[in-house]
Amino acid sequence: MSASDLLSRGPEVIGIGLQRFVDDLQSQGITASSVDWRPPATRDPAVLQAAATLSSGAIAELVNKANEEALSRMLSADPVLVNVNLAAELIEGLGEHKILHAGPPIEWTDMCGPMQGAICGAIVLEGWAKNLDDARALAGSGKITFEPNHHHSAVGPMTGIVTQSMPLMVVENKTFGNLAYCAINEGLGKVMRFGGNDDSVLDRLRWLESTMGPLLADSLLAVDGIGLKNIIARGLSMGDEMHQRNVACTSLVLRELAATMARVSEPDAASEALEFIAGNDQFFLNIAMAMGKAIMDPVRDIGGSSIVTAMARNGTEFGIRVSGCGDQWFTAPVEMPRGLYFPGYSEKDANPDMGDSTIVETIGLGGFAMAAAPAVAGFVGAGNASDAAAYTSRMAEITHTRNPEWTIPALDFAGVPSGIDVRKVVSSGIPPTINTGIAHREPGIGQVGAGVVNAPMACFEQACLALSERLAAS
């Protein structure tokens, strides 16, 4: 809008600051709106300077160009669910006494209760210890190596524990040829992802390994994989946001698989497997997560890019990775989720935020696609559809663009906000909003609620500082 357009058309105004100026214009019938402005969240001059440096002049051009590349890689991804295989077969070096976990790197002593509980269960499952007590002693002995899933093309919900004998779903990004992995969702109730580790939990994991995994693998090979881009597009129009609500996508996958599964397996096994999928609205979450990882891995390490490539929590710390800073983690203490609790539980039972599932928000789903899933908005605030839309609009203020293929009917088919830009997070003071399940703080009890949580601003501030230092040095 050039200056001469302003003079010939007259002012159409966006006000930042005093509301009365905007009110005065509106009272005269002039189109005017106002920004809900507030000073930047951080007062640290170094951080503000870094965000300003990254947003102005030649450096901004460099960053913008790198971000265009990042987004073009994100949006051209073609994720397909292709296979299920044992973790040991898929992940190099994953063998005896090695355990992968959710979030950024963490030591045993710093882990929260559910994470430790899940690890003890996994050690018993693998037969490295006879019982949970021995497992705990072994875990703390230094003989177990702990590494983040994210370092091995994998992601896991909540505790996200992965060991060699667990079956992992494989999503291939056909455009770039990379693979990403995630375990099969165990269902609700007492499960390892919430720190559960009793016999019922371990028995289910054994059944997943012996029956469910191979059956899914056979079916996927027979259907030549399931393209996920379309499933997501349809799921968004059916009220899923793919983090807290996956009922539509789970049904769509079930539909894709059912006939083939019935054909390639024994009727009893097929029935059991289909019943397992049908009985778990969140079955698709783990597929969406592997998809997110498959989409974001090719976006890592684009020089200068300020786009977030991963957000993950280990129950103690929240970590993000930013494309222009390669595989460096920027971490800060996790926040407590706000939300609704199951009968008998309250905030005081809640574990701090946990899991790799935030990869879903990283690609523009979950909290970013809240407008698609008004049913989920009830977890926070009044729960109106307009509240849900507001979440998505807010996230559009910190992202690079909107995804043209993943659209939301209720927003007049606007795409989901995609490509979190650390500069925009810092300068606007708007943290990414994450939809999440809430685990009990004691291991073995399971999920006690669901809600939303903010990504800590400190992660994004550190990333801004690091990125501007890198660019200044280059």
């Binding site: 159409e12 966006i14 600051g17 005065d24 920004v35 009830g378 307009s386 708007i430």
Partner: protein, 501 residues
């Protein structure tokens, strides 16, 4: 001893999130220990059994039934909670008003207002530059009302805007008109054929008001900020504004209102104005006609500028026009000042109006001390003009045009000062200004004793302003204030009153 109530609604389904929300709502009611609403699936019943909130009634629920389980301190509380649940489940009570989403960032707001062409920034100065930069990124013109924007930042913004073919008005731009629309502190005036470039907010307001009252009108009033014409900025916005006004066919004449420009800048500006192809009138305070090139009409006061503008405009070539300027000499001769009193106190809310008065009184031989001058205010001087909008009076409180209460104690003090012969005031009306500045003045005057000083005032406002010019004027006159038609007349009258007779 707590009470447990289970009620089963047969064949009633609600989404689990809705039920969890309602459960939380019920649990928050007084006397309620726990409230759970769940559909009676086997797994849900097990959860409720584990939570020890299921009784024999609840146990009967099937997978298509809703179980309402409430544990409370006494029966009355459970009943109240149950009634609350039933009301909520009628389906119409939960429907709230849709909350309107207001973006937190300019970028977010622009996304939903893609046709916007101007950002009006009034944040604290330290953030204004950042917001102005993002406005330019988005291709938006900028009006920066905020002050305290560093000079180097202003230069950077204006250079960028020039390259982008955008306009930056300000920083410290209090007033503007674009296509007849008043922005920020501005009066409601008729739209007309005059284009103004102003380095001063109240200067533009007074000029527009006087032109309006004379029958003319404003097409554009482009505010450029007080520093634009300094040599450090080089008049970047002023030069852009000249081009814009010269190219607007509806603009018939161009008026420049400013303080004296920097030396190098003055040449660039006046050369460009002289060659713009339209009549140009300049009201540059502190610059005499000889310092302005031929071809540009020079005026000493805003009133003269407005009158000349109106006379020159095509539709005002009316020979029957009568001079409505009252005979100030006559008026002055009829007024008596308190015996022995000789001093003048001017208490201004508009900075440029204060400067204009200072120059007029100076030309009449009354050398005034003022905080707007380089020398600063000498509080022992006989003639004093104070700009109450200056930083030293506005720290930690609103500008006196918004909240004139800052003037009240000084006015009371002057009224009761036996040495004060005349008090000179301005009242600024219009959008953004205080809703009733006359009341503030009148309240200070009624406390005065007999044999009080003369109070001379002007009201910068129009009949279309929200405060209503005539009503403000009448209120002042009823309190004994001598109200002049313009600030310059008020200053001239003061000079005549104080002139040795």
């Amino acid at each position: 001893m707590s009470v447990l109530l289970n009620e089963v609604r047969k064949g009633f389904y609600l989404d689990s999130v809705a039920l969890m929300r309602l459960s939380a709502e019920l649990s928050a009611l007084s006397g309620i220990e726990e409230a759970v609403l769940m559909i009676g699936t086997p797994s849900n019943l097990q959860i409720m059994r584990d939570a020890d909130i299921l009784d024999s009634a609840g146990e009967e629920a099937g997978p298509n039934d809703l179980v309402i389980a409430i544990r409370a301190d006494r029966k009355a509380s459970t009943n109240r909670a149950l009634a609350h649940a039933e009301k909520a489940m009628k389906g119409n009570s939960a429907a709230g008003k849709a909350t309107e989403h207001r973006a937190r960032t300019l970028r977010g707001s622009h996304a939903s207002n893609p046709d916007a062409n101007l950002t009006l920034i009034s944040t604290p100065g330290e953030y204004a530059g950042i917001e102005a930069n993002s406005a330019l990124d988005l291709g938006l013109n900028v009006m920066i009302f905020s002050d305290n924007v560093p000079l180097e930042r202003e230069l950077e913004l204006k250079q960028r805007a020039r390259d982008l073919d955008l306009l930056v008005m300000g920083p410290d731009c209090g007033t503007a008109y674009i296509n007849g629309v008043p922005l920020a502190f501005a009066n409601a005036v008729n739209k007309g054929s005059t284009g103004v470039i102003a380095a001063s907010g109240t200067g533009l307001q007074e000029f527009s008001v006087l032109l309006h009252r004379a029958g003319g009108g404003i097409k554009h009033g482009i505010g450029v900020g007080g520093r634009d014409l300094s040599d450090s900025i080089g008049g970047i916005s002023t030069l852009s504004a000249i081009d814009l006004l010269a190219n607007d066919d509806e603009v018939e004449q161009i008026v420049l209102i400013s303080k004296p420009p920097g030396e190098a800048t003055a040449k660039a500006i006046f050369d460009k104005l002289a060659a713009c192809g339209k009549p140009v009138i300049a009201c540059v305070f502190g610059l005499s006609a000889s310092q302005i090139p031929d071809g540009i009409s020079c005026t000493q006061t805003l009133r003269e500028a407005a009158e000349l503008t109106h006379r020159q405009s095509a539709n005002a070539a009316d020979p029957t026009e009568t001079n409505t300027t009252p005979d100030l000499h006559n008026l002055a001769s009829e007024l008596t000042i308190p015996t022995g009193a000789q001093s003048l106190v001017g208490l201004y809310t508009g900075g440029t109006l204060c400067t204009e008065a200072l120059l007029i009184l100076g030309r009449a031989g009354l050398s005034c001390s003022s905080n707007t001058s380089k020398e600063g205010l000498d509080s022992t001087a006989q003639y004093q003009l104070i700009d109450l909008g200056a930083d030293e009076y506005t720290v930690g409180r609103p500008h006196p045009m918004i909240e004139p209460a800052v003037r009240t104690p000084l006015l009371q003090q002057a009224v009761n000062d036996k040495n004060v012969a005349v008090i000179l005031l301005d009242l600024v009306l219009g959008f953004g200004a205080h809703e009733d500045p006359a009341a503030e003045v009148v309240s200070a005057l009624t406390a005065a004793e007999a044999n009080k000083p003369l109070v001379v005032a002007s009201v910068c406002g129009t009949d279309k302003d929200p405060q209503d010019y005539q009503r403000q004027r009448a209120a002042l006159e009823a309190a004994g204030v001598i109200v002049c038609n313009s600030n310059s007349e008020a200053a001239e009258l003061c000079a005549l009153i104080l002139e040795p007779r």
